[in-house]
Symmetry: C2
Subunit: 343 residues, 2 copies
DNA sequence: ATGAAAGCGCTAACAG
DNA sequence: CTGTTAGCGCTTTCAT
């Protein structure tokens, strides 16, 4: 409030200049030491470090990024943090990005339909060096415009934008493996519990259809949302519906499969004797006792790691051709689909 | 490369100045429109918006934050993104923070022991307006120094730093409720499966001890890590150990409780007839068929929301006194502990 | 190896 | 409602 306020360190205002003054060196020298680049005489270096420590200096990443035109951070936008699969994507991404010196910024609950585009916009606004997107895509032109200039890789689904890299599982193959496994067990009446109309779910559905068609068998499908309740309702629909009760069900994810199991139990159907069940994603719950669910593993963590790798490549060379990587899923057989494994 | 390059929009360089030029207005007017503050004539406003749209303008949050000294973002540092509880914390936090206009930046895998402190440092460096921490705390002096000047609230555990707000569940009460529930069912031999030595786990352990001591019964404890395998081993230890087999087990989290269930099944012990089991956290898996686990619900989502609320208050008034909020848990009784509920 | 000068893109405080 | 004048804290380029 006085005419000339005495120089004082404010609550959060320790700058490089302060550190330089304290250490008796130039501001640039401080910058070099903090960034750990170039050669700095060891004594000077420790002088600076000590001064920084004493003052509680914290580098202002904002200013550094603005001036340096790089943030060394990448954004990961995921659909649902509760979904194990996305957590595994994130693990794989972190495996690659952290050693490379990037800070991972996670934005959860990103639905591209509504407010999710805003989340993406926030990441772009933060000028992250790259963006990883794990959600469902629709033909939204604005996506291309929004991401123009920011290296991007999608996980699990392709964006539809030609210049964007993608890493995904072979979803059609996954359900084909599941269906063929059931066929090999002698099942003929195999139903499918499908999900909301996304790229991924469409691929999974088609895998089931292909396998059934190849075996000259009719298909039978019901839909469920991504919850246990949805799966339970789906099974009820199948049981109450016309025609014979299916002897096996392929589900588009583990949550719905677990719902099917719950419903089967309530309906006094033995699994797998009366009803064999296969899920998708091989989440941790699939291995729980009393669940013991056969499931397709899409190698989510590997997808995350691979996507992060592609992103790093694209950051290094923004003009290289876009690639789409497809990982081969594997079927993990458990008690819910195999008589031999039943206790 | 020419002497004087023609004005061209570079890959990512559309600035407010460009928009102003395109719209034929001043740069400040653009700023007002973009920030949506003050009064701007409708025609001018749409003129600016149209120009921004045409040029594909994206506000540079970095520059805005640097100049405005506020980022309108808060960091949420969580221990383990795979753990449902942290996902629910995040939900609650988002419930409050998003309507308030804050961008949530999630940092996962934050163990304060090792590299996690670096993650926190990254958030501080980004100059987030506040930090929410959901992990375990040890007496680390550096934490206080690191966070000085950044409003902070902890979730689930207190930090030990007096000036930091905290929101947590009453963990001792939770296990006391669980133990008393088992006592009410007539159990006398109740064992406890405890976790790694954290504040939270210590409180849960003490709740069990209090309840047993109050009933003049001896305690019996084994330890397990936070996985299903850990729980399974713990039960084996109890079964192979001296003395009679316990008739009930209280577990410090759901994962270990599910491990106990798995082991019980392998050992041909009926649940709850031979062994009653109670978990902690009431994760979604507890409600799965075949799991059907009685569990203590600490209201994680509410904890997240409350913590976010406190953070907002502290951002508004950094000097108000620190508070610690304790939420009362409730016991959710399912088939794993109650004969009456068994199918 | 170090200092000086310039500027990243924006907000803020005021005079017009 | 517009224009001016200052920075925010840092990196960078170029001298020295």
């Amino acid at each position: 409030m006085g005419e000339i306020a005495p120089v004082s360190v404010s609550r959060r205002g320790v700058t490089m200049a302060d550190v330089a003054r304290e250490a008796g060196v130039s501001r640039q020298l401080v910058s070099l030491v903090i960034r750990d680049v170039g050669y700095v005489a060891p004594e000077k270096r420790s002088l600076v470090l000590a001064a920084a420590e004493r003052l509680g200096y914290r580098r202002n990443t904002l200013a550094a990024s603005l001036a340096g035109r790089r943030t060394f951070s990448v954004g990961l936008a995921v659909l649902d943090i509760h979904n194990q699969v996305y957590a595994e994507f994130a693990d794989g991404v972190a495996d690659v990005l952290e050693p490379a010196g990037y800070q991972l910024l996670l934005a959860a609950g990103v639905h591209l339909g509504d407010g999710g585009l805003a989340s993406l916009g926030a990441l772009v606004g933060l000028r992250v060096d790259g963006i990883l997107i794990a959600t469902h895509f629709t033909d939204d032109v604005r996506l291309e415009q929004l991401l123009a200039g920011t290296p991007t890789v999608t996980l699990g689904e392709a964006s539809g934008v030609p210049v964007i890299d993608a890493v995904q599982g072979d979803d059609a193959l996954g359900t084909r493996l599941a269906t063929e496994h059931l066929l090999a067990q002698g099942h003929r009446d195999i139903a499918y519990v499908g999900g909301p109309d996304t790229q991924q779910n469409a691929a999974r559905r088609s895998g089931y259809r292909e396998a059934m068609t190849a075996a000259s068998l009719p298909t039978r499908e019901v839909d469920a949302d991504a919850t246990e309740t949805g799966g339970a309702h789906a099974l009820l629909t199948l049981l109450r519906g016309p025609g014979p009760r299916p002897s096996a069900v392929v589900c588009y994810n583990d949550a719905s499969a677990i719902g099917v199991l719950a419903c089967a139990q309530r309906e006094r159907l033995l699994v797998p004797e009366h009803l064999a069940v296969v899920g998708y994603d091989n989440t941790r719950a699939a291995g729980y006792p009393g669940v013991d669910l056969t499931s397709v593993d899409q190698h989510a963590r590997d997808i995350g790691a691979r996507a992060a790798g592609l992103l790093l490549e694209r950051i290094a060379d923004p003009d290289r051709d876009a690639v789409t990587d497809i990982l081969t899923p594997r079927l993990v057989v458990r008690g819910s689909s195999s008589h031999y494994l039943t206790h």
